[in-house]
């Protein structure tokens, strides 16, 4: 059962990586990154059980935290990067 779960998660991770590479917009990439992080958390916890030493869930915990922090960080920084691009690209209409 655990093995099956591991394999499933690996497959999903692979799909997320594909999306991250193909992703047309920045946000697709961030989304894939977020998903990948969650899947890593799951993978680590399952691996802990598989290896018979489930004390190592600390790592999964750290992953969850770091994942959140980096997603937020990317969003914050991407704002300004997007500005630069849009200034040149389109002056169509600003919201509101």
């Amino acid at each position: 059962m655990l093995t099956a779960a591991t394999i499933a998660i690996l497959v999903v991770m692979f799909l997320a990586i594909i999306r991250c590479i193909v992703g047309p917009t920045l946000y697709d990439r961030i989304l894939a990154f977020n998903m990948f992080g969650t899947k890593t958390v799951l993978l680590i916890s399952i691996l802990g059980f598989l290896m018979g030493r489930p004390e190592f869930l600390d790592i999964a915990l750290v992953y969850a935290l770091i994942n959140f922090i980096s997603v937020i960080g990317v969003l914050r920084f991407s704002d300004s990067v997007e500005f630069k691009h849009q200034d040149q690209a389109s002056t169509k209409e600003s919201k509101q």
């Binding site: 499933a8 997320a16 917009t25 989304l31 958390v41 997603v71 937020i72 969003l75």
Partner: protein, 113 residues
């Protein structure tokens, strides 16, 4: 009792796996960002929750359980927040949805579980 736990954890794990897989397919196959976001945001949280619950049922003792619980809580908190922030940022930066032209303001934001 033991076998019950075993079966329960198996079911939870399977469900979680199924959800994760469908999320994975969704992120790859859906046409635009917001639908992808919907696919991931919903399945990710529930799938992760399911798998973690399945793991909890495997070993219902002490510190391990506590840590799993913490991870579960954390994912429950973090995932919807992250998707929310993501969707909001995308909207703010004029990333428009591919829709049938009927609505121009866009549908609901991807619902958060």
């Amino acid at each position: 009792m033991n076998i019950l736990l075993e079966i329960g954890s198996g079911i939870c794990l399977l469900l979680g796996c199924f959800l994760c897989l469908s999320g994975g397919v969704g992120i790859l196959r859906f046409p635009d960002f917001f639908t992808r976001m919907h696919a991931v945001g919903v399945t990710d949280t529930l799938g992760a929750g399911m798998i973690l619950i399945g793991l909890m049922l495997q070993n219902p003792t002490g510190l391990v359980l506590l840590k799993l619980l913490m991870i579960l809580l954390l994912t429950l908190f973090i995932n919807p927040t992250a998707s929310h922030a993501l969707a909001k940022a995308a909207l703010r930066n004029n990333l428009h949805m591919v829709l049938d032209e009927s609505t121009d303001k866009g549908g609901d934001k991807p619902s958060k579980p």
